[in-house]
């Protein structure tokens, strides 16, 4: 049983670290973007754990872009306005890409942003060459990333379920947050709904490992890894 004094001392220690002081200055948009990149990195871990290959690419500079640039707001897969980065992956002969903040044309023709997505590599090459918008036909994975909110409401779940219903036949659909919500957990408990991952954070390695293993297993199944 932790005592009040232990908790207060632990808080004090955290607040006295200069890195904590700089993090406290981030605005909500920055926190959301960082969480998305963290989830992106967990997908890379999942591909590597499945013995796949990963190369980080910049749309203009190619392999090993430096700095690594991600979209500050939803954008187009083919946009070359910045050297937007993505991860090119191969696993058991299947080639695919992990993207952040890309917009896809849904089956209803509406445009949807997917926080973290996996898309077929061949089709992505065509999309980039022709400068067109990707449809959901070759979209395999859609992951919603929601940064901690003291009031993570069921509405977020309904919105994501509505979104993925317009994204075609996804292999993986997950809702991730570093926060928790009993209401959302209930909402996602129905069998046909996306897998929820709450409290996803490097501060809770067991949760992060569970997420990576889950994605790894789904990727192994999709790519027929035996």
């Amino acid at each position: 049983m932790a005592t009040y004094k232990e908790l207060q001392d632990a808080v004090e220690k955290v607040l006295s670290n200069p890195a904590a002081r700089s993090s406290l200055q981030f605005n909500s948009a920055t926190r959301e973007r960082v969480f998305e990149v963290y989830v992106f990195s967990l997908l890379i871990r999942a591909v590597k754990q499945a013995k796949g290959n990963v190369v980080i690419k910049g749309i203009n500079s190619g392999d090993n872009p430096n700095p690594i640039v991600f979209r500050g707001s939803p954008g187009h897969m083919s946009s070359r306005s910045q050297d937007f980065a993505y991860a090119e992956c191969s696993l058991n002969g299947k080639e695919f890409e992990i993207h952040l903040g890309v917009q896809y044309v849904g089956t209803s023709k509406a445009l949807h942003e997917v926080d973290v997505s996996i898309f077929d590599h061949d089709r992505a090459e065509q999309i980039r060459a022709e400068g067109i918008l990707p449809s959901t036909r070759n979209l395999r994975v859609a992951i919603e990333c929601k940064f901690y909110d003291s009031n993570l409401g069921v509405t977020l779940g309904r919105t994501f379920v509505g979104l993925i219903s317009d994204l075609g036949g996804l292999k993986i659909k997950s809702f991730t947050s570093n926060g928790r919500s009993a209401g959302l957990a209930d909402y996602f408990s129905k069998s046909d709904r996306p897998n929820p991952f709450f409290a996803l954070s490097p501060l809770r390695p067991a949760v992060a490992d569970r997420f990576v293993h889950s994605i790894e297993q789904d990727l192994r199944k999709w790519c027929s890894v035996y």
């Binding site: 932790a2 955290v14 993090s23 990149v37 990195s41 690594i68």
Partner: protein, 139 residues
């Protein structure tokens, strides 16, 4: 936890305000002031939801949870950098930039770009945050 949690909560908010983290302190104050809801049984009727204030222990727990959430992005970025670095030659930084279409009537200059400078002590901070999260689980 002990009866001194009200004092700890006040000290935490003051400390955040002194550290120029006014917005985090204000958000904690807003959430705590909003209270919580709980089911109450009304005689002869079905259960209804009712609003009630948080007690000091609950309020302190909410405040610490929000504090951790506000600080952990720098640890998340550190972890992401490590994974990305394993797949590259060198990485100096991660940045977020705005997308735009060439020849737009409004040029992208001035659009917000996000970059997070490297901070010393992130590894220590991660250890301290993990300890805090563990203590919260035990409190």
């Amino acid at each position: 936890m002990a009866e001194n949690t009200q004092q700890a909560l006040d000290e935490l908010l003051n400390r955040l305000r002194r550290n120029n983290a006014q917005s985090v302190a204000d958000e904690i104050a807003r959430v705590v002031a909003r209270g919580t809801t709980e089911e109450i049984e009304i005689k002869g009727a079905a259960k209804e939801l009712s609003q009630r204030p948080l007690d000091p222990d609950e309020a302190f727990r909410v405040a610490v949870e929000m504090l951790v959430a506000s600080i952990e992005p720098i640890v998340m970025k550190n972890h992401a950098m490590k994974v990305i670095e394993e797949n590259m030659d060198t990485v100096t930084s991660i940045e977020w930039r705005q997308d735009f279409v060439e020849k737009s009537p409004i040029a992208p200059e001035g659009y917000e770009e996000i970059s997070i400078p490297d901070s010393e002590g992130v590894e220590d901070l991660e250890k301290d945050l993990k300890k805090l999260v563990k203590l919260m689980g035990e409190a």
